[in-house]
Symmetry: C2
Subunit: 411 residues, 2 copies
């Protein structure tokens, strides 16, 4: 008998009819003889509705109370899904984070899971009941409710799969898998049957919104296979798993992009130790995440231009902070550009293949796209380009690396 974790996202449980449909899917798996824990998100739109309510009460709602508030969304869904399961004759029990002891730190609104007590879950399985678990939420040592950040239910599901030694973590959503690129802007996008944790990590953090990045980190750490599938179709699915020897190593597995980026350049920064720290500490103190950073030293070696990217949402705040520091940094000026975007290629095969980056640059330049910044890791290359060229860039790279064909071209 296998332990299976299933997770259903907000659009999959967005109405009573859809919840009944999901109950039918769970019942089928249950009747095959499996021990099942189902993790559900809030009904689509509910979390946003609660956040709007909070904003009406306070311009900066207390984070502890935000978590008390938004965690109700999942509580509603687990109760409803459990009712639907019982109506189908499937024994089931809803479980909240405080009940099964999903312990987190106390970083409200972005807490990290530290520990899960499996006793109650195992008792539930022993009683032949389906455990219907509220995703997204946790509980601190002191008994305060926390939430795991946007997409946190993915992480709840993977964490449960890890502690229960589940055979598989099935993530049901409104797409039928992970694609070589966004099918909305490239009609040649191809669904990937399999992808490695590292590739999925890069894709998730680069803007492909299928899984929460942290859930993939968790899955990689505990070696939990994740199957991303569509709730409403039996076809397709993408398995995220560890890199194994017989797995075909794609040079490039996918093209991702992120439009929520903005660029800030500080001109004529003094090139001496401590400048970067002086610049970036106030940004992180203000909860502004800096993504790419590039510094060019001038020919005389005394001055540098320093560029970095932040999210478009943080752009105004970041510009204000940086402008206030110009003289302190010994800089000449600050210029910003909120109309940029990031385009990336990802693939584990890149490690053993030379020339992947240069092929990317050539492809972009072949259609006249100027590259403003470049950043690389072992398995990805990212370029900042003018936002308006993003769709073109994705299509041209998809073509260049022949991603519409199974097994991508070698550079």
């Amino acid at each position: 008998m296998a332990v299976i974790i299933q997770k259903y996202g907000g659009t999959s449980v967005g109405s009573p009819e859809k919840i009944k449909f999901v109950a039918g899917k769970v019942a089928k798996r249950y009747r095959e003889g499996n021990d099942i824990a189902v993790v559900v998100s809030a009904m689509s739109g509910e979390t946003d509705k609660l956040i709007r309510l909070a904003k009406e009460l306070s311009s900066s709602p207390a984070p502890r109370e935000m978590d008390v508030l938004v965690s109700t969304g999942e509580q509603v869904t687990i109760a409803l899904l459990t009712m639907a399961l019982k109506d189908l004759g499937v024994p089931a029990r809803s479980l909240l984070a405080f009940q099964i002891g999903i312990k987190t730190d106390d970083a409200y609104m972005k807490a990290r899971i530290q520990e899960i007590d499996v006793d109650l879950l195992k008792k539930t399985f022993a009683a032949k009941e389906v455990a219907v678990v509220a995703g997204f939420q946790g509980i601190t040592e002191d008994g305060d409710i926390t939430t795991l950040g946007r997409g946190g239910s993915d992480t709840s599901a993977v964490a449960l799969a890890a502690v229960l030694g589940a055979e598989l973590c099935e993530i049901y959503t409104d797409v039928d898998g992970v694609y070589t690129c966004d099918p909305n802007i490239c009609n040649k996008a191809r669904r990937l049957d399999k992808i490695t944790y590292d590739e999925m990590l890069e894709m998730a953090s680069l803007g492909a919104k299928v899984l929460q990045t942290r859930s993939v980190e968790f899955a990689k750490k505990y070696n939990v296979p994740i199957l991303v599938k569509s709730t409403f179709s039996d076809e397709g699915g993408t398995l995220t798993t560890k890199e194994d020897s017989d797995m075909e190593k794609e040079v490039v597995s996918g093209i991702t992009y992120d439009k929520n980026e903005a660029k800030i350049t500080i001109l004529g920064v003094q090139d001496k130790p401590g400048v970067a720290a002086k610049l970036f500490s106030p940004l992180s103190d203000n909860n502004i995440n800096v993504d790419m950073i590039i510094q060019n030293v001038s020919s005389d070696g005394k001055q540098a231009d320093l560029s970095f990217t932040v999210t478009k949402t943080d752009y105004d705040k970041a510009m204000k902070i940086v402008k206030a520091m110009i003289s302190d940094l010994g800089a000449r000026d600050v210029v910003g550009d909120p109309s940029i975007a990031k385009i990336s290629i990802v693939g584990v095969g890149m490690r053993s293949h030379a020339g992947v980056a240069s092929k990317m640059f050539s492809a972009l330049s072949s259609v006249g796209i100027n590259i403003q910044m470049i950043s690389t890791s072992e398995i990805k290359v990212s370029c900042v380009i003018d936002e308006k060229f993003i769709e073109l860039g994705v299509r041209v790279l998809h073509e260049a690396f022949e991603l519409d064909k199974t097994g991508s071209a070698v550079a």
Copy 2:
């Protein structure tokens, strides 16, 4: 420094604007130097909305899951009110039943409070924080969520007042107190400044919907004074308190009525032991509450007609059950009447005054109202009459007992 418990009902916290207004009221009391626990209900309409959702998923939703579902309403309100308080600079902390240990039995949807752990509440007061407590909910020994039944937040508030030794339990609602009768049907209704627990108990159980009956039982047991006031007016208020010697004993304090009653009469029941048990056990097994019961033995002493009342909601179900038992009960026939209602007079002074009941009967008959059933206790007399005469009956009794004047007439 006094400990004050305030409770705000659903209409008092029905919108972000109203929650802000309530926060202002709490802040005022807090700044007077009191330790405050605020109990709030769900925003008006929310509980019903959740119940409707459940009904869409199952014709008989599992009670355990109903409680998981409907308890979210109060969780939302405590988070929002706490945010609003913090915005006013008042330190505050939302608290759920599982956090402060409001222990109940496991009778889902109508659980009874057994114990409250005051540690966390006292810590909250010691930290000079307002405790914003979710009403209506509790937690079982096993950690399951329970709810206390309709109006259960009143009981939460009174129970907190009892365990914390509060000076006063303030219940804020959409009316400014308890009236001699329903002001909507009798324009001479007068607000009572003071009422005893026993009178309030009778009024609550007879249909005056100001307080949940159980909250008054609790208040009486622990001698907690309850002040019922309007959220949106500083005027008025009715204090429910113990009967003291210097309190003027009203012969009749109020007239109440309950339209949600239906009558069932079994004709020609054999008059022998065990018949009543045989009849009422299947009703209680089906969760049907029987209110008044009257039996008249026939002249030959061998047969009886037995009448009883149930809620209109339970009428069809009850008729079906009783009809199926006719031959078993050795009865001749069953007749029912769903268009009746109950009218009652309540007053502690009745105990020491004769003739109160007969005055009631005369008043009703003076306007041609026929009395179908009568039931009495030490401090109340109830009559079942034709539903269509209820408003007339209330007005005529209000007049007869001169309730528009302070200090009611002696019979």
